[in-house]
C-alpha cells in the first residue's frame, strides 16, 4: 500500500491502478462486520435485496413475510458501530402490503423515487417510494419468481417478469400494461436478467434447465439457448440444449456485460460468453443450491480479478470469476442465504438469509486495532474494562 502511494506520489503509477489495487484488497478481505448492523424487521427470511444504483446508499429488502423495508446504509452516527435503521417499511399493517412472500425487489435503475416488488401473491407492484403507495399493480397467472429492469435502457421501460407459467411477460411502465410475452421455455421461469451492456438483451433461466437469451425487439423466438456442452455432445440438438442438469434459478451478468453467470440446482455455477453463447467451462466446483425459488448472487465491481459472491447453503462462497478458484467463504448466517448485493463504492456486501438476518460484510483491514484504540480513548472506563474483559482469558487461579 505504501509502495503504491509512493509510486503515485512519484507519478509512476496510473491512478486507476491504485484504485484497482485498493478495491481488490478490500474486496478480498471481506468479513462479517463487527460494528455495523441492519435492524431486524423481517419476521421470516429476507428473500431479496437491492442497493439503489444512484447513490449506493439505500438498501431495499423484501421478506418472506411480505414486508418490504428500505434501509439507509450510511453510518451517520459518528461512531464506528451503528445499526442501519429502516427509512420506511411496508409492514403487515400496510394497506397495500403483499399478501404472500415478496420474491424480488428492485429499485428503478435511475433514481430512488420508484421501486418494484413481485410476490407469491401473483402480483408485481410498482411503488412510489415517497408516498409509499403502489402506483401500478400488475396481475399474473402464476406466482412471480423474479423480475428485472434494464439498467442501461434509454428507449424502453420494460420489466421482464418470470412467473410460474413458462411465459416471460414484459410489462411496460410507460403504458402500464403487459406489452408482450416471450414464449420459449417449457417450464416455470425462475429468473430473468437484463444485460448491462445491450438494452434489448434479456437472459432468462427456467425450470426446464435452459437459459435463453432474448432480443426483446423480436419476440418471435429467443436469440439462443445456452448449451453446457457447446454442441459437442453427440445427442445435443438445438431443441434440448440445456445450460444445467438442474433447474436454473440464478443469473447474473458480469458488470461489463460480456459474460453471464448461471446457477443451477445441479449445484453448479457456469460462466457463459454472451456474445457467442458458449460455455467458458470454468469449473467452480460444487456449490450447494437446493432453493426452489430464485437465488440472487452478485459479482464485485472494479477489482481484479473480479469476484463472484454465491450463496452456498448457509454461507457465501467467493470465487474468482474467470479462474474459478475459491477465494474465501463468508460464514455468518444460520440458515440458507437467499441473496447478496455488492456495494461497488465501499466494497461492502449485504446478504439476506432465511434466518431473517441481513448481514453486512465489510473489508476487514485490521482496523479493529484502530477502533480499539479509539474506543479505549473515548469509552467510559467501566465499559472499556467490560469490553476488555470479554476478549481476555480468564483462567482462574485455582488451576495451578
Amino acid at each position: 500500500m505504501l509502495n503504491f502511494l509512493s509510486c503515485r506520489e512519484n507519478g509512476t503509477l496510473d491512478p486507476l491502478a491504485l484504485v484497482r489495487a485498493e478495491t481488490t484488497r478490500r474486496t478480498f478481505s471481506l468479513e462479517l462486520s463487527k460494528e455495523q448492523d441492519v435492524k431486524r424487521i423481517h419476521a421470516s427470511g429476507a428473500n431479496s435485496l437491492d442497493l439503489d444504483p444512484a447513490e449506493s446508499r439505500y438498501l431495499l429488502s423484501g421478506g418472506a413475510d411480505g414486508v418490504i423495508a428500505v434501509y439507509d446504509t450510511h453510518n451517520l452516527s459518528g461512531t464506528p458501530s451503528s445499526t442501519a435503521e429502516a427509512v420506511c417499511t411496508v409492514g403487515r399493517s400496510h394497506r397495500h402490503v403483499h399478501k404472500y412472500s415478496v420474491e424480488t425487489v428492485r429499485w428503478y435503475p435511475h433514481d430512488t423515487g420508484l421501486f418494484t416488488s413481485s410476490s407469491m401473491d401473483k402480483t408485481l407492484k410498482v411503488w412510489d417510494t415517497n408516498a409509499l403507495l403502489p402506483a401500478e399493480v400488475f396481475q399474473f397467472e402464476g406466482t412471480v419468481y423474479s423480475h428485472a429492469m434494464s439498467p442501461v435502457a434509454k428507449k424502453h421501460c420494460l420489466i421482464a417478469v418470470a412467473t410460474m407459467t413458462s411465459i416471460v411477460t414484459l410489462c411496460d411502465l410507460k403504458s402500464g400494461s403487459s406489452t408482450h410475452i416471450l414464449k420459449g421455455h417449457r417450464a416455470a421461469v425462475k429468473c430473468a436478467r437484463w444485460s448491462p451492456r445491450n438494452p434489448y438483451l434479456l437472459a432468462t433461466g427456467s425450470q426446464d434447465n435452459k437459459v435463453l437469451l432474448w432480443d426483446v425487439r423480436s419476440a418471435k423466438s429467443s436469440l439462443m439457448s445456452l448449451d453446457q456442452h457447446n454442441g459437442e455432445l453427440a445427442t445435443s440438438t438445438a431443441a434440448v440444449n440445456t445450460a444445467h442438469n438442474g433447474h436454473v434459478n440464478g443469473l447474473c451478468f458480469t458488470p461489463e456485460g460480456l459474460h453471464l453467470l448461471s446457477f443451477g440446482t445441479d449445484h453448479r455455477l457456469r460462466l457463459w460468453d454472451t456474445a457467442t453463447g458458449r460455455n467458458t467451462l470454468v469449473n467452480y466446483g460444487k456449490i450447494c443450491n437446493d432453493s426452489k425459488k430464485s437465488v440472487q448472487f452478485t459479482v464485485s465491481r472494479g477489482s481484479s480479478p473480479d469476484v463472484v459472491f454465491v450463496p452456498d447453503d448457509s454461507s457465501i462462497a467467493m470465487f474468482d470469476v474467470f479462474g474459478g478458484t475459491s477465494l474465501h467463504r463468508l460464514v455468518g448466517h444460520y440458515n440458507y442465504v437467499q441473496c447478496c448485493v455488492f456495494n461497488p463504492d465501499t466494497q461492502e456486501l449485504y446478504s439476506g438469509g432465511s434466518d431473517s438476518n441481513i448481514l453486512v460484510w465489510v473489508p476487514d483491514l485490521g482496523r479493529g486495532e484502530d477502533y480499539e484504540e479509539s474506543k479505549k480513548q473515548k469509552a467510559e472506563p467501566s465499559q472499556r474494562s467490560q469490553n476488555l474483559q470479554a476478549y481476555q482469558d480468564t483462567w482462574s487461579s485455582d488451576e495451578d
Binding site: R40, S44, S314, V331, Y334, S356, N387, A390, Y391
Partner: protein, 770 residues
C-alpha cells in the same frame, strides 16, 4: 507444542467424554485446564479434539464434550474465537437447530444436553455477546427463528410449545362440548326427573300418612282426614292402602280385632266398590273396632281426647270412649308392608327408585363432573346440585320405607312371575317382551353357562330358580333334555315322535313344541312336565342306569352310520359288467368288495382331549428379585423346562438344581469369552507402561483395561446403544418370526385343515380326491 502433552490432552479428552456420566470429573477437567492455560496452541488442539468428540453419534459423549467446551469457553478467548467461527455447526450438534439432524440417543442425555446448551448459550450471550457478533447472531437466531424461549428452556422449541397449546385447547374444547351436551341432556331430562320426583312424592303421600295425620295435638286433622276419607275412595285406590297398612301393622296389637277378619273385610271392600266398602265397614264395625280410616281418627281421638268430642264418637259409630286403644308407632320400622292393595304403588315407587338410582343419579353425577371440569357457570352447577339433592332426598325416603331398587321380596317376584323378571336387568332400554307361547329358543349346551343356566341335566325339575338375566322358561330345558336324548335314540327301530329327527323343539310345528305350548301356567308346569316325562316310557321312566348312560352319552351329528344303525353288516360292493372281450378276462369279474373306509359302519371322531389351563408359573428367580411369572405349559422360553421350585425359586429336585447350575456356568463362561476376546493383556500392559496411566481393571485379572486406540474399544461406562435394542420383545420376535417356527406353525395348521376336510367329506369321492 510438546508431543507428549498433546497425547496427554488426547487421553484427557477421551477420558472426559467417554465417562458416560452427566457430570464431569473435576480432577480431569482441572488437569486439562492446567495444560490449556499454558498456551493457546493447546487450547486449539483441545478444541479440535473436543469438536471431533462432539460429532459422535452418542448423546453422552456429546454432553460431556459440550460440558468441557463450556468450561474452556468461559476462560479462553482463543477457544471462544474458534467455537464461534463454527457456531452454526455447534448449534446443530448441541441444540438440534437443524431439524434434519436430531440429537442421537440415549434420549435422557440428549435432553439434558439440549437444556444445558441453551442455558450455556444464554450465559455466554450475557457475558460475551457484545464482543462476539456471531454469538449474538446465533442467539438471536435461536430466539427469533427457532423461537427458543430462554426464560423457559424446558419447553424449548416452538413446535413443542404450540403442540402443547393446541393439545390444551383441544382438551378444553372437548370439555366444553361435553358440558354443553350435558347441559342439553339436563334440559331434556329435567321434565322426566320432575315427573319422577312428583310421582314418587305422591306415592309417598299415599303410602305414608302425612305427619299432620299422626299429629295428635291438633284437633282439626280428624276433619281433614274425614274429608279426604270421603273423597278419596272414589278417586284414589291408594289411600286405602295406607289405611290398611296402618291397621295391618300398628293396630295389630288391638286386642279385640281379629286381624284376618279385618283384612278380609278390607279386601272385600276394596274389591267390590270403594264407596260401599266404606259403608260396609262402618256397618260391620258397629260394635267392633273398625280397621280403616275411621280407626285411625278414632284411635287418635280416643287415645288423647277422650272427654272432648261426643260427636266424634257418634260419627264413627263408636259405642263409647271406653275403648283403650294403644298405638305403637315405631319410626325405625318402616312399617310398610306390601300386599295386594298397595302393590301397585309400591311397584311404582320401586320403579321410580330404580330409575333414580340407575339412571338419574349417575346422570346428574356425570353432569356435575363435566360442568366442574369445564368450568361451567355457577348457575348451571347449582341447578344440577339442586336436582341431585332432590333425587337423593327421594331415594333416602325410599330407603326409609325399605324399598330398594335391587332386592325384591319373593312375593313380588311371584306376583309378576308371568311377566318374567326382565325388570331385574339393569338395562332399562330393553323393551319388555311378552313371553311367546309357541316357540322357545333352544339354548345349546355349550352356551348354557353364558345364559347363566346350569348345565343341562336329563331332568330339570325346578324351573323357577333360573337366576339372572333371562329366565329360560320351563320348556327350554325340557327341550334341551329332549334333544339330548332325542338325537341319541336307544335303538334305531323304536321311533318315537319326540325322538324323531324332525322333532326339533325349536321348530314351532314340531310335536314337542306343541307339547310345550300345552303347558299353560307357571304354577302347574312342573307337574305337567312330570306327566309329559312320564308319558315317555322309553327314557325318563326307565331305570336310573339308563338315565346315567344317557347323561354321559355323546351327542353326534346324524350320519350314515346312524342311518344304517343295527343293520346287518354288509360290505359295499362294486358290480362290474361282464367283459365282452373274446378271450381276455379281468381277474376280478363280478362283485368286488370295497375295502375302503366304510362310511355306513364307521365314524371318525376326533379326540382332542380336554383343555386344561396352565395353573403353574415358571418361578425361576429373576434379576430383580421376583420370580418369573410366565405361565408356560412345558417350557419357559427364558428359563427352560418348567421344573418344580420352592418359594425362593430354587429347583426342588437336586438334579434340576445341578443342571441349572451347570447351564448358568456355561453361560457365564461364554459371556466372559465374548467380552474378553478383544483384550490382549500383553498389549494392555505395554500401553500402561508406555503412558504411565492405568487404564482401568480387567475384571478378575487385575490388569489395565486397554482403550484409546483401535476400534470397538468403547469404554463400558457409556450407554451401549446397541444393547438398548436388545430387548425382550426383540428376542421374542426373533424366536416367533424365524422361518423355522413360522413353517412349523403353518404346517400344523394345514394338517388341522386337512383333517377337518377328511372328517367331513372324506367319504365323498369328489372331495376325497383332494
Amino acid at each position: 507444542m510438546d508431543l507428549t502433552v498433546c497425547q496427554q490432552l488426547e487421553q484427557l479428552v477421551e477420558q472426559l467424554t467417554t465417562s458416560g456420566q452427566h457430570q464431569l470429573d473435576k480432577a480431569t477437567v482441572k488437569t486439562l485446564k492446567n495444560i490449556c492455560k499454558t498456551s493457546d496452541e493447546y487450547v486449539k488442539h483441545t478444541y479440535h479434539l473436543l469438536n471431533t468428540q462432539l460429532q459422535k453419534d452418542h448423546a453422552e459423549i456429546r454432553l460431556s464434550a459440550f460440558q468441557t467446551m463450556d468450561q474452556l469457553f468461559q476462560r479462553s478467548h482463543a477457544f471462544r474465537e474458534l467455537l464461534i467461527a463454527e457456531f452454526q455447526e455447534f448449534l446443530e450438534l448441541t441444540v438440534e437447530s437443524n431439524y434434519d439432524f436430531p440429537l442421537p440417543p440415549p434420549k435422557a442425555a440428549a435432553d439434558k444436553l439440549k437444556k444445558q446448551a441453551l442455558q450455556a448459550i444464554q450465559r455466554w450471550q450475557d457475558k460475551f455477546g457484545e464482543a462476539y457478533k456471531k454469538l449474538t447472531l446465533g442467539y438471536n437466531f435461536l430466539r427469533y427463528n427457532r423461537k427458543v424461549d430462554f426464560n423457559n428452556i424446558a419447553a424449548s422449541s416452538n413446535v413443542e410449545r404450540t403442540r402443547q397449546e393446541q393439545e390444551r385447547a383441544r382438551i378444553q374444547a372437548i370439555k366444553l362440548q361435553r358440558a354443553k351436551n350435558g347441559l342439553k341432556e339436563m334440559e331434556e331430562t329435567k321434565p322426566e326427573i320432575d315427573e319422577c320426583l312428583t310421582q314418587t312424592e305422591s306415592c309417598f303421600q299415599l303410602l305414608v300418612p302425612r305427619n299432620d295425620v299422626l299429629d295428635f295435638n291438633t284437633t282439626s286433622p280428624k276433619n281433614v282426614e274425614q274429608h279426604t276419607n270421603n273423597t278419596l275412595p272414589t278417586t284414589s285406590h291408594g289411600s286405602k292402602q295406607s289405611r290398611k297398612k296402618l291397621d295391618g301393622k300398628d293396630i295389630s296389637s288391638d286386642t279385640f280385632i281379629p286381624k284376618g277378619q279385618a283384612r278380609g273385610q278390607e279386601l272385600l271392600a276394596g274389591e267390590a266398590s270403594p264407596v260401599p266398602g266404606d259403608r260396609g265397614r262402618l256397618n260391620n264395625g258397629g260394635d267392633s273396632k273398625m280397621p280403616g280410616q275411621e280407626g285411625d281418627s278414632g284411635e287418635d281421638s280416643d287415645d288423647e281426647f277422650e272427654a272432648e268430642e261426643e260427636d266424634v264418637v257418634r260419627q264413627h259409630g263408636l259405642g263409647s270412649h271406653k275403648y283403650n286403644i294403644s298405638i305403637e308407632f315405631n319410626p325405625d320400622d318402616s312399617g310398610i308392608r306390601e300386599d295386594t292393595d298397595n302393590a301397585d304403588i309400591m311397584d311404582t315407587l320401586r320403579d321410580m327408585n330404580k330409575l333414580i338410582v340407575s339412571r338419574f343419579l349417575p346422570a346428574v353425577g356425570r353432569w356435575l363432573e363435566v360442568f366442574s371440569k369445564a368450568g361451567m357457570e355457577q348457575k348451571e352447577v347449582k341447578r344440577a346440585i339442586d336436582i341431585k339433592r332432590a333425587l337423593t332426598a327421594a331415594m333416602e325416603k325410599c330407603a326409609d320405607l325399605g324399598i330398594h331398587a335391587e332386592n325384591r321380596t319373593g312375593k313380588q317376584q311371584g306376583r309378576e312371575g308371568r311377566k318374567g323378571s326382565q325388570d331385574d336387568s339393569s338395562d332399562d332400554d330393553f323393551v319388555e317382551v311378552e313371553e311367546k307361547e309357541g316357540y322357545e329358543p333352544r339354548i345349546p349346551d355349550a352356551l348354557r353357562a353364558e345364559y347363566g343356566l346350569e348345565p343341562a341335566k336329563p331332568e330339570t325339575k325346578t324351573k323357577s330358580i333360573a337366576p339372572k338375566p333371562r329366565p329360560v322358561p320351563a320348556s327350554a330345558t325340557v327341550t334341551s333334555a329332549a334333544t339330548t336324548s332325542g338325537t341319541k335314540p336307544p335303538t334305531k327301530k323304536s321311533w318315537h315322535p319326540l325322538y324323531s329327527e324332525d322333532n326339533n323343539p325349536s321348530d314351532p310345528t314340531s310335536y314337542s313344541a306343541a307339547l310345550s305350548t300345552l303347558q299353560p301356567s307357571q304354577d302347574n308346569r312342573v307337574g305337567k312336565r312330570k306327566v309329559s316325562f312320564d308319558a315317555q316310557p322309553s327314557t325318563s321312566g326307565a331305570s336310573p342306569t339308563k338315565k346315567e348312560l344317557l347323561a354321559k352319552a355323546p351327542v353326534v351329528p346324524f350320519g350314515m352310520d346312524l342311518y344304517t344303525w343295527g343293520e346287518k353288516a354288509r360290505k359295499p360292493t362294486i358290480v362290474r359288467d361282464e367283459s365282452l372281450h373274446r378271450f381276455w378276462r379281468p381277474s376280478d369279474e363280478g362283485e368286488i368288495e370295497v375295502n375302503h373306509l366304510d362310511p355306513s359302519r364307521e365314524r371318525t371322531i376326533t379326540f382332542v382331549g380336554e383343555f386344561e389351563p396352565v395353573k403353574w408359573t415358571c418361578k425361576a428367580p429373576l434379576s430383580n428379585g421376583k420370580l418369573c411369572p410366565r405361565m408356560d405349559r412345558h417350557k419357559c422360553p427364558f428359563h427352560g423346562p418348567i421344573i418344580p421350585r420352592d418359594e425362593t425359586g430354587k429347583p426342588a429336585n437336586p438334579e434340576d438344581a445341578e443342571r441349572e447350575e451347570r447351564r448358568r456356568r456355561e453361560q457365564q463362561l461364554e459371556e466372559t469369552e465374548v467380552s474378553e476376546d478383544w483384550r490382549d493383556p500383553e498389549l494392555q500392559r505395554d500401553i500402561a507402561a508406555a503412558t504411565g496411566i492405568s487404564m482401568g481393571n480387567v475384571p478378575g485379572r487385575g490388569k489395565g483395561k486397554g482403550k484409546g486406540k483401535g476400534k470397538g474399544k468403547k469404554l463400558s461406562n457409556l450407554t451401549d446403544l446397541k444393547k438398548v435394542k436388545n430387548t425382550t420383545r426383540r428376542r421374542l420376535e426373533r424366536k416367533v418370526f424365524n422361518s423355522g417356527s413360522v413353517k412349523r406353525v403353518a404346517s400344523e395348521m394345514n394338517r388341522l385343515d386337512q383333517r377337518r376336510y377328511n372328517d367331513k367329506f372324506g367319504n365323498q369321492f369328489n372331495y376325497a380326491l383332494n
